[in-house]
Symmetry: C2
Subunit: 567 residues, 2 copies
């Protein structure tokens, strides 16, 4: 619990004025007010630099949508001014929208660490895009137009993550990317507090910092602590063992491999992204694989179950994933047996709870023991909780703080933490997507906002599904539709054919609407007594008649689709 921040929400802001000469402008096209599609745009002297370009996964209110992109509309006419896209790490919510940005201009330089760029490259290959890549490492400098970037190592749930300090004549901005402060990281790569402290002494004008876990008290548990828990599960598992985790969580997978070696089990990777990413990680020396440890899935299924561990995707309950199929008993190679053990060594992303529990229940029904983060310490978060966020602020001593990467609850909690450290409320900038922050003469402030929409990817197309289609999907998905078609002869004003009815998703009773057809015909005939009547008017008659009847009879509101055809 924290004190109520005194900051006001930025509702009803106006279009921002032009950026004053010598000023630095910051605007998020995504990631503020949501967890995902992170993308910040910096502007100085007519040039732009982008930090991250990720996707957001849709909620139930965005049915049928595959992905949500940052809204590129604001920069679409300024693509030639983009000096670089700096990528802090290789998670989808930071790199997933890159293919869609490069469709607009394919030679934008992508700047990132070795592992990040390897994942980006693999992704772009699937989109048949050959990008311009600039590899950097912690401690490196990179000049992107007027943006002098300096990279700082941070610790996160994927290797090779970076924060970036951007020095401009207007001042220094530091963006943490996603980070936490695991003090015993598996690869020894710490969040470089020394670098943040040095930058703090030099002067950080504006700190953009990860808010994801701002509501969570305390400090992270080390990733390393998961090892012994996995070990004890391996120790007791007498049969098949399946571990599911994120396909990019190299250190988690490493600990599973280490357990497998110790307990003399071979390992098979299941799922396309798991195979691909672990291949990349192994090639770059980030994943240590003992010789002869890995087997293919068909070899694994032919081995005695107690001699193998499967590492699978599907930890978020995806119904089409390998684990999802196993839970329903319809995986073509793996059949769950009573006594099998499944570990979900993963987070439970908000919104996925029902899907994840469905998988757990399916596995439990088949007789498996399922171990997950609610029942054992098989997951730690990749994001800094409250104690570490306060620590960063105390170390970096920014003049201004802009909480990023979070829903409003996280942004506001982060602001409250900053106030606790002594920052005054007017130095904490609570912004949402599209809100424009200018740093001018050492002073950062909100100067306006531009409208930011949701850009939906559905199948092959981007942007053609919008709020109108989603609203229709919501109605159709909840209530179904009833379509009534009538063919009339306009000159004689007669009905040529009885009303044709077509309905889906309303009722399993095929005769549900029989009763109303006569009524519709009667109302149509009455309406056609008027010589001025037209198809539009007759459509209204159908809609009104059916709408009232179905509401009175069923208390439901299906979509009503009248069609009047004139022959």
């Amino acid at each position: 619990m924290t004190a109520a921040p005194t900051l006001q929400p930025h509702l009803g802001l106006k279009t921002p004025p032009p950026l004053p000469r010598g000023g630095l402008r910051v605007m998020a096209l995504g990631g503020l007010g949501e967890i995902g599609r992170n993308m910040a745009v910096l502007e100085f002297d007519g040039q732009l630099m982008v930090i991250d370009c990720g996707v957001l996964f849709p909620e139930a209110e965005q049915p049928g949508v595959d992905l949500i992109l940052p809204d590129f509309g604001v920069i679409e006419h300024r693509l030639h001014e983009i000096t670089a896209v700096v990528l802090t790490h290789g998670h989808e919510d930071h790199i997933g929208a890159i293919p869609y940005l490069l469709r607009l201009r394919k030679d934008i330089p992508l700047v990132g660490s070795r592992f990040t760029l390897a994942l980006v490259k693999a992704k772009l290959r699937e989109h048949r895009i050959d990008p311009v890549l600039v590899e950097v490492a912690a401690g490196d400098d990179h000049l992107a137009g007027p943006f002098h970037c300096e990279f700082i190592s941070v610790n996160h749930s994927i290797p090779d993550a970076l924060a970036v300090a951007v020095h401009t004549p207007a001042g220094t901005l530091v963006h943490t990317g996603d980070f936490k402060m695991d003090q015993l990281p598996l690869d020894g790569v710490l969040t470089d507090l020394g670098a943040f402290a040095r930058l703090g002494v030099e002067g950080i004008d504006l700190l953009l910092s990860d808010s994801t876990n701002a509501e969570v008290p305390g400090f992270v548990t080390s990733e390393r602590n998961i090892g012994p828990v996995l070990d004890s599960v391996f120790e007791r598992a007498g049969q098949r063992l399946i571990v599911s985790s994120f396909a990019s969580h190299v250190h988690r997978i490493q600990q599973v491999l280490d357990c497998a070696v110790k307990h003399k089990r071979k390992v098979a990777l299941v799922g396309r992204s798991m195979v691909r990413n672990m291949g990349v990680a192994q090639d770059l020396g980030l994943l240590r694989v003992a010789p002869g440890l890995m087997v293919k899935l068909d070899e694994a299924t032919a081995m005695p179950p107690e001699q193998v561990v499967l590492i699978s995707t599907g930890s978020q309950g995806e119904p089409l994933s390998a684990l999802g199929r196993m839970a329903r008993g319809d995986h073509h190679q793996v059949t769950i047996e009573p006594g099998d053990t499944i570990i979900l060594a993963s987070s439970l992303v908000p919104g996925n709870e029902t899907a994840v529990y469905k998988v757990i229940n399916g596995l439990a029904r088949l007789g498996a023991t399922v171990i997950h983060k609610e029942t054992a310490m098989v997951h730690v978060s990749g994001h800094a909780p409250a104690g570490e966020l306060r620590t960063l602020i105390n170390v970096a001593k920014p003049r201004y703080l802009m909480p990023v990467h979070g829903e409003w609850r996280h942004l506001r909690a982060h602001a409250a933490l900053a106030e606790q450290t002594g920052m005054s409320a007017d130095r904490i900038l609570l912004a949402e997507d599209g809100v424009v922050v200018d740093l001018v003469d050492g002073k950062a402030s909100i100067v306006g906002s531009v409208p930011i929409g949701n850009v939906y990817v559905d199948g092959l197309n981007v942007g053609d599904v919008g709020e109108e289609s989603l609203q229709a999907r919501r109605i159709l998905g909840d209530e179904g539709f009833v379509a009534l078609t009538v063919v009339i002869e306009p000159s004689t004003r007669t009905i040529v054919r009885p009303v044709h009815l077509s309905t889906r998703g309303f009722s399993d009773d095929p005769g549900a609407f029989n009763e109303v057809l006569g009524l519709v015909e009667k109302e149509l005939k009455r309406a056609m007594e008027d010589e001025q009547v037209d198809a539009h008017r007759l459509s209204q008659v159908i809609r009104r008649t059916v709408g009232k009847w179905v509401s009175d009879t069923y208390r439901r509101r299906p979509m009503i689709i009248p069609t009047v055809l004139e022959v």
Copy 2:
């Protein structure tokens, strides 16, 4: 973490044989394999007794559905054999389906405690049903045909909850209802371990016990511990204060009232069920309300915000609730101001996470501080966690255990706990809805199963929405539809009117299907060259042509609805 239970799931069971003379049969029509619609049916000597009759709330995969009922199909032809419905407590998942059961036979006696029956009565009044009520209290006996019931007080998140021991010539069955073992309950009513111990000594043949929190380690935190947390929030809140909770959680509300008195705030109740239930609780002396404490909402909104606390429904993120409206800024009486404090003193029911976080984010965006169970100890569960479930088994020493009230993950976890106490696996009956357990000659076993479906309430109707409609809703909701209507003259095999197209939920681009119309017409004409062609065949042509085109062009699969009208 627990050892893998050796119990097998009961898949592919057959129809059970007739109940042997002198045997007791137990079958759940709901509540096993799901959290909700709890309903157990007992049978002895041709007579039935029902324990609880609740509703289940739908998931995203059951779009548009209002409620899910237990499947009464199995007992529909045996309604006259029901001697009583025993209600353990007044939560919706235990009493919500009563109106629908009484529609089938209205004079089934309802047996329950004073508060439970008061809530049932209020509910039935809305359905215009005047029930037969039999009030009982802990310690009471009640004879329902051959079922000799004895009631035991249990502690839960609603007052006046009961467990029931059912003595029959076949043996004794004990059903816990929902319970926990708060050792400092606000009303002093403990779960009566003495009674369970006595019954254990006398001999419990079969224990049906609440599994909801079987995955949660340890023991409950006392409800009483929430008081000081609320107090500290009241202490610091300088403006408006809103507390949201379940409308039946009398003890939670009592603690809010006590804080209000201490901090000199008046109280207004918001939400129909909150007003109704607290009225009932006050009438029965379960809620102590200081004189002059309560004000109406319009009085409250006219008072200075720091002198009032609103107690509201909407803690599960219901968009139409008072709190949901406040979060969107469209409540007609209450406007959230920066610095307001909202407490969600409630659980987060799985499946509701997205909705609840949307409300929290909406409030946070408007400048409010939102305190919820993830950030402060403002909620404790009403269900016994692992430590208490083990305790009950050790005290009651049942010969057989049947875990109830839970999804598979909970049932299996409960079974594992029982094994830890020393029960052998063959005395733990893991069943799901419809599985039939017979207690014959002191031995309980699974003897078969009957099919149990989901009975959906949608608007005024029960049962007409089934899997076919839901499947259509899921497709329509994800992809929308495209309907193509063509009018032909069958004798001449000519198209009388160009193909008419109607589409919703597919794309915001009105011309999305323009390209395919010519193709459809071409294919239709080609098909009509065949003299044998009929409307069905032409429909297939439309479906195939459009289906292929839309899949190739968009990688989407909208519902395609061809209509061929002959004039």
